[in-house]
Subunit: 203 residues, 2 copies
């Protein structure tokens, strides 16, 4: 089994943190985004037709893409510790908060970055006004996260889950567009210090 | 238990089709988007702080939002028939194809519609250039779906799943921006005729 990985990008980090929480070791294969290795003919033909990282290669030669699909695979083959929730209600809460963290924070930051950064000029279709709208909304999204964390330890409730992984990585990624956690959002700051101090956060 | 619903919108339909496939009856409460009932003080204060539909109200008074979180809840309380996959590998495939159908089709159509339609003028922050880019990409997204369906019956493999529900609803919703399934995409047309003929599609 191998995981096609990219050290600097937020989505592969979601999988690495998830695996660290489960104490699962998987061989990592570094894909160099600056060299466009994820768009190379061989990668497109044999590993991921959409040119995405991360992609998991199973021992039977088949591939799973999409960070949350890869995490879901490992949750099924090694349920302990559960990171997608313990019972029906908690599983629904984890799914709900994972999606909100993804839509409101991680994808918001990604849109702000990709549609305005020179790095993506000529590589992607940029709509600067879309990037600027997403950038302008980031403070209210941090405030939303702060309110969500006011009365509980973790995003989906009492237990650390994949929703915390996505939210932490979205918040950390926001540094690329100049947003940082601060005391302006005390619940967010308390939660971020907690999740960032877990050994898995360094994965 | 009650489901706050909106007949015309695509996301609530995902939950209704899912429930029909499981033969689960839930009381529906119609929320009128034209009257802005989903943004009314009472709805925001007591049902969904983000003003979203669908929202499921459990008998203990708690709420679950996000279509896929609601579906996940029902998958857990009534696993049969499984709509999120049977084993680890199929569960990962369903998650992967669900997300791709959502990102590439359903959210693409929604962006094309919401950022250009007069209906949302003044109600949402519109970026017409973003809507137009998404609109321009729809033919390649239908072609992508067509290619994905070339060698298999359903989107995630041999079994009908929640990925088919999301893809069907994304394709159906594309009518609002002038896109229709046609023989230009024969695999897509064959698959669409199949999923649209299931009794659940009318839910």
């Amino acid at each position: 089994m191998k995981l096609y990985d990219m050290q600097m990008a937020p989505n592969p980090r979601r999988v690495r943190v998830f695996l660290a929480e489960k104490s699962i070791d998987v061989e990592l294969v570094a894909v160099d985004i600056a060299k466009r290795e994820h768009k190379a003919d061989d990668y497109i033909a044999n590993i991921n037709r959409m040119g995405q990282v991360p992609t998991l290669e199973l021992d039977d030669g088949s591939h799973i893409s999409e960070s949350m699909a890869i995490c879901r695979y490992f949750e099924e083959v090694q349920p302990d510790p559960p990171l997608f929730g313990h019972d029906a209600k908690e599983k629904a809460a984890v799914e709900m908060w994972s999606r909100r963290a993804e839509q409101n924070v991680l994808l918001g930051v990604a849109a702000a970055f990709r549609h305005t950064s020179d790095f993506f000029k000529g590589l992607e279709d940029q709509v600067p006004a879309w990037g600027e709208l997403n950038q302008a909304k980031l403070p209210e999204r941090f405030a939303w996260l702060d309110a969500a964390l006011a009365n509980r330890e973790y995003l989906a409730g009492d237990n650390y889950s994949v929703a915390d992984i996505t939210a932490m990585i979205g918040v950390d990624f926001a540094r690329v567009v100049g947003m940082k956690v601060s005391d302006e959002w005390p619940n967010l700051a308390r939660w971020h210090a907690s999740v960032a101090s877990r050994p898995s956060a360094k994965a």
